[in-house]
């Protein structure tokens, strides 16, 4: 999540600006915790399919690592492209 996605705070009075900042921080914390949860769920679902052992097998661990790394790279790329589109839309207005 990128701060630029959220709100333009410059026009607000000081007290409201502070309150808005706290709100944005809270949303960012919630967002990164949710992202963590859905990353775990996705990589678990895609990589773990047999339940003969209690512990993660070597190839499952490799799969999970790659899945997580790929997802993070993907997510950054989406963020960059999305920011460009938002930028473009903003300058067209």
């Amino acid at each position: 999540m990128d701060k630029s996605m959220l709100a333009d705070l410059d026009s607000l009075p000081e007290a409201d600006k502070q309150r808005m900042t706290v709100m944005i921080d809270q949303l960012q914390i919630r967002d990164s915790l949710r992202m963590y949860n859905s990353l775990v769920e996705r990589c678990f679902s895609d990589c773990v399919d047999t339940f003969k052992h209690k512990s993660l097998q070597k190839q499952e661990e490799t799969c999970v690592r790659r899945c997580a790394e790929k997802f993070l790279k993907h997510s950054m790329r989406v963020g960059m492209r999305f920011a460009e589109l938002n930028q473009g839309a903003a300058t067209q207005d």
Binding site: M5, M23, R65, K73, H74, V78, F82, L85
Partner: protein, 82 residues
């Protein structure tokens, strides 16, 4: 009583801003999840995105953006419906 906004009005304004931000975060997350499913091979043979995946992601984001705007128009405005 009429000139400055009441506590309840302020609640409403902050509430609206919060909902709007939640909406944008959710839009971004759904787009990310959907484009990952559409573009990235879920066998994870390597940890890099390859060229095909990268160009798919770029186009997916662009198309998702267009669909968002198209549906926004159908619902009566360029912005999300209230």
């Amino acid at each position: 009583m009429a000139s400055s906004p009441s506590a309840l009005d302020k609640e409403q304004i902050f509430g609206m801003a919060e909902k709007e931000m939640e909406y944008r975060v959710e839009l971004f997350n759904k787009m990310t999840q959907t484009c990952f499913k559409k573009c990235v091979d879920n066998r994870y043979k390597e940890s890099e995105l390859n060229m095909g995946e990268n160009s798919c992601i770029d186009r997916c984001v662009s198309k998702y953006w267009h669909v968002t705007n198209l549906i926004g128009q159908l619902l009566g405005s360029g912005r999300p419906p209230m």
